[in-house]
Amino acid sequence: MFRTLKPFEYLEPKSLEEATGALSKCGTEAKVYAAGVDLVPRMRKRIIAPKCIVNLQRIDEMDDVIASNKDGARIGALASLRSIELSALIKERYFVLHEAIASIASIQVKTQGTAVGNLCVATPASDVAPALFVLDAKIKAVGPSGERLIPIDEFYLGVGKTVLGPNEIITEILLPKAPANTGGGFAKLVRTVSDIAKVNAAAELTMEKGVCKEVRIAVGSVAPTVLRMKKAEDVLRGNKIDQNLIEKAASAAADAVKPITDIRSTAEYRKDTTKVLVKRVLEKALERTKA
């Protein structure tokens, strides 16, 4: 109902040490600011009312660089969704992430918003998260006691909840090298293109002579967090892939989800279409392993 934000203390640390120190001091009363896309509207609506805002944009050690490294690639925490979407490196080697971000409609949101910010919101409808799940990404977080690497599928605890401590800051996303003959795919269902997903799904598939060597499947918006579809993966892994097996894996995925009914969709529909989307992303991924 409100239009203005409530007053808060504004901090603009220059180093990670200064930033984590400030966060330690303010505790849960503080929120970090990286782009504002999610944070500012929630503050306006009084969903949160932080006493202190720590702007991460001017920290020396933070960057927006997207680059390959010896283990694969890294995405600096300040990299915008749009820069990741347009990155030739991401398009070439991590197409599923490109496809997921491309499905987010608003250019403004993508220009301003960061992938890390999207992860930290911890919405089960995130399009970025399923893509990172199937890419087996890791998140580097820095706190007062040093840094740690968090596998993406251990990052979420529930809606709006992550394992990140109140004084930890994510500095980068790490993507492992993809083996040869790997392809990925992403798909989602929405009410209008700018809506968040009713259901989304991502898959990353590695083939060797017609046999599935490795596969990861993730589905969003069907549980409090994005889910890995391990049973569906087991159907495929080590087996020769054909349409029949893809259908079987898709059914296994649908069996594994217990979605809810809300204003966007119904539990029944989400379950039904989990199967359809998993099938479709596997088909796309398979096709792309050949490229």
Partner: protein
């Protein structure tokens, strides 16, 4: 007029569009008054509750100037949609059942207190304090109108113990024949229950107001209201204030589609200005808009059609339960008008219907573009399509059998002045490729199925004889030969100033560039009812024509003196007055006007004209809509590939404007049909879809791949230069056309709006299991 038009029919751009392109155009939220305070409203968080409010803490907050509740208001009940626009047919007035601030909360969002403070941040802080200091006594509430009408339902207004303030029946010209006999004589009877959903206008500029009271007690109100004069009258009554001391100023308006027909925050803003004697500005958040304004009135419709084997409509019955809200506002007319559109569209010898209105503990039902017509056609044209399928007839041919023609009785009870609906149907069918596509899944696959569907409608040009009609206009020549066109039809983005300038320019024989519109203040303009019911072109258009003809007469009389000719022998073209028999003998309009104004011979005279107009006729615009869709049978998702709207709006005064209206109508109709879903939380009665993140209107990529607007462009005998209304027709038949196309593609249909993929997939599953 036989001569070639010089202004009418041209694709011109309205002058003020330039100001909108540069950011100079001032909308109400952009208004800044010296020393202005900021207002803010406290809304009830319960659907039905008594309450007491402790103002102490809010008043003590530094910067807070005043806090008002029901006790501080004049306690004169009003109707936010202006009760003095009676149904002229019945004489029935809309109920005055609302106070400036509520005595009892009747929906989640009902305004129960307000503050004025030095800035917006302080006003909002005061509201947060007040919110904590309200003691509610929560009462049982009811959301659905069908529940509200059951015995024992919570009573929302004491005066209406059964929550049923009014019932309506069709007017005599639509309650005809013998229904029972009609259905008995029919070869096929089709019927169903339909839900016509609550659609939010989704104008972008949130509801805003600025109000000041000066030391002469003159109230100036900056408001986006599009019925400025009736609004002024309502304000006068609400505050027991002389209307001569009220000026309603309408700056640029960021969209309406019906929402600016009512006053929303204005009475509260004026109240704060009266209390503080300072200018007060009050701007809604979008969430406040979603939860407090009167949206398209929802209805439950039971429709039943009886048809002969050849597809001739023989009987029609419509029974409506109208979802009124906590106060009735325009919902009071909504069911009745639905019967008029529905029963009045096709030729049918046996018809009747009924409408029950219910109070509910929800935000109000109001008017949105089409007011009842998109709602009723959602039911009727689905049944028509169903009947075609069952009788093995083609919908195009069957519809042509049932359309009315000129001279037959129109929905308003008057004779149809002109209708080219058959042209709309034929041209539209050709454009969509009806014959090649209907029933053929053309271009589709096994899981992506394609189909085409259609719908039609008849609307109105103004509300005569159902509601008050009256518009006025003044033309005033300047000494450079330009003219001011002084009007106040309300202009929420419809380019009506431009179209009316074209009418004036055509009559006056000067360039549209030389017409300067003065509008937007009640104290500087003649009475104009305002913009609703697709009336401005038709009614204000005539007022402008009359004013221009009068000014033209004065101009010719003065020119005749100067040229030593008689006025009848003169004509005007391209800003020159010339002798018809001797075109070389001429004088410029500028010279005539300047000479008249600076009458050095002692005959000074401002060449001007005044026109007031009340139509005693109503030329109905008609239209046909065609959709081609692709349905994903695995997900139930519908993509509209092509959409064709063919409209008969008489002579298109500005074809670009007509296209713009109809293209925009497709967006709104597509949203109504497919994506816009207003949901209440059943446990609390609160709106669950209170902003654009949850209530989804179509964005550019959601639109049809191709949208084609066909303008039939045949003049009507009664409209100004042959024009009829076109504002509302744009969206009427979109949703049923899409639904009928979906049925053509996959053989299932749903009866509740919007058409959700969830419902389509479920229907497909059910069909497969049969």
């Amino acid at each position: 007029m036989n001569k070639e038009f010089t202004a009418v029919g041209k694709r011109i751009t309205q002058k003020d569009v330039v100001l909108k392109a540069t950011g100079e155009a001032i909308f109400v939220p952009d208004v800044k008054l010296q020393g202005q305070l900021w207002g803010k409203i406290l809304h009830s968080k319960y659907a039905h509750a008594k309450f007491t409010i402790d103002k102490t803490r809010a008043l003590a907050l530094p910067g807070v100037v005043c806090v008002i509740t029901y006790e501080d208001t004049p306690k004169i009940p009003y109707c936010r949609s202006f009760r003095d626009m009676p149904m002229t047919a019945s004489g029935q007035l809309q109920h005055s059942d609302e106070f400036i601030l509520a005595d009892k909360a009747r929906f989640v969002g009902d305004p129960i207190a307000a503050v004025a403070a030095v800035d917006e941040k302080t006003a909002e802080a005061a509201i947060e304090l007040l919110e904590a200091d309200v003691k509610y006594e929560v009462l049982p509430f009811v959301i659905d109108p069908r529940d509200a009408l059951k015995p024992g339902a919570p009573v929302i207004h004491d005066y209406s113990p059964n929550n049923n303030p009014v019932n309506s029946t069709p007017p005599p010209w639509l309650a005809i024949g013998d229904l029972e006999k009609g259905f008995a004589e029919s070869d096929l009877v089709v019927e169903d229950n339909f839900y016509c959903s609550r659609q939010i206008q989704s104008h972008l500029e949130t509801q805003s107001c600025c109000a000041t009271v000066d030391s002469n007690n003159k109230i100036t109100v900056y408001s986006p209201n599009q019925l400025a004069h009736p609004f002024r009258r309502e304000l006068g009554k609400m505050f027991n204030h002389p209307v001569g001391k009220i000026n309603v100023v309408t700056p640029y308006v960021g969209g309406s589609f019906g929402c600016r027909l009512s006053c929303h925050t204005e009475p509260i803003c004026v109240m704060l200005a009266l209390k503080t004697r300072k200018p007060v500005k009050l701007v809604n958040s979008k969430e406040e808009d979603f939860t407090t304004i009167d949206a398209r009135t929802p209805h439950y419709l039971h429709a039943k059609l009886g048809l002969k084997k050849d597809g001739t409509l023989h009987a029609m019955e419509l029974n409506v339960t109208t979802w009124g809200g906590g106060y009735v506002s325009r919902a009071m007319l909504a069911g009745g008008i639905m019967l008029i559109w529905g029963l009045g569209h096709y030729r049918c010898p046996n018809m009747n219907g009924s409408c029950k209105l219910a109070y509910t503990n929800t935000p109000l039902g109001g008017a949105m573009r089409g007011f009842g017509n998109p709602e009723v056609m959602w039911g009727i044209d689905q049944l028509m399509d169903r009947a075609c399928v069952e009788l093995g007839l083609d919908p195009v041919e069957m519809t042509l059998k049932n359309t009315k023609h000129a001279g037959e009785t129109c929905n308003t009870g008057l004779p149809i002045e002109s209708t080219y609906i058959d042209d709309c149907i034929n041209e539209g069918a050709k454009a969509i490729g009806w014959k090649e596509k209907r029933g053929k899944n053309k271009g589709g696959t096994k899981t992506l199925k394609r189909g085409v569907g259609m719908s039609t409608m008849t609307h109105c040009s103004g509300a005569w004889p159902l509601l008050l009609e009256h518009s006025g206009a003044i033309i005033k020549f300047n000494e450079d030969g330009s003219a001011n066109l002084i009007i106040n039809p309300g202009s929420p983005g419809t380019h009506i100033y431009g179209s009316l300038s074209q009418v004036a320019a055509e009559v006056l024989g000067i360039s549209v560039d030389d017409i300067y519109v003065v509008a937007g203040e009640t104290e500087k303009t003649l009475f104009d009812l305002g913009s609703h019911a697709s009336r401005s072109m038709y009614v204000t258009g005539h007022a402008v024509r009359i004013a221009a003809e009068e000014a033209r007469k004065e101009l010719l009389a003065y020119a005749a003196k100067m040229l030593a000719e008689t006025p009848d022998d003169l004509d005007i073209k391209d800003g020159q007055v010339f002798v018809k028999a001797n075109p070389g003998k001429k004088i410029s309009v500028a010279k005539v006007s300047a000479t008249a104004i600076y009458g050095a011979r002692g005959d000074g005279h401002t060449i001007s004209g005044k026109g007031c107009f009340v139509p005693h006729h109503n030329s109905p615009p008609t239209a046909a809509y065609f959709a081609e869709v692709e349905v994903d049978t695995e997900t139930g998702v519908t993509k509209v590939l092509n959409f064709v709207s063919a409209v008969d709006c008489g002579k298109a005064i500005n074809p670009m404007t007509v296209e713009g209206q109809c293209e925009g109508g497709v967006q709104q109709g597509l949203g109504y049909g497919l994506t816009e879903d207003y949901v209440f939380n059943p446990a609390t009665g609160a709106t669950a879809t209170g902003n654009f993140t949850t209530y989804k209107i179509p964005g550019a990529p959601d639109m049809p791949l191709e949208t084609k607007i066909i303008i039939i462009d045949k003049p009507d005998p009664k409209g100004p230069f042959g024009a009829k209304g076109v504002g509302e027709p744009g969206l009427v038949g979109i949703a049923p056309a899409i639904m009928n196309a979906i049925h053509d593609a996959v053989g299932v249909r749903v009866t509740d709006l919007p058409i959700k993929p969830e419902a389509i997939l479920k229907a497909l599953k059910e069909k497969a299991s049969k």
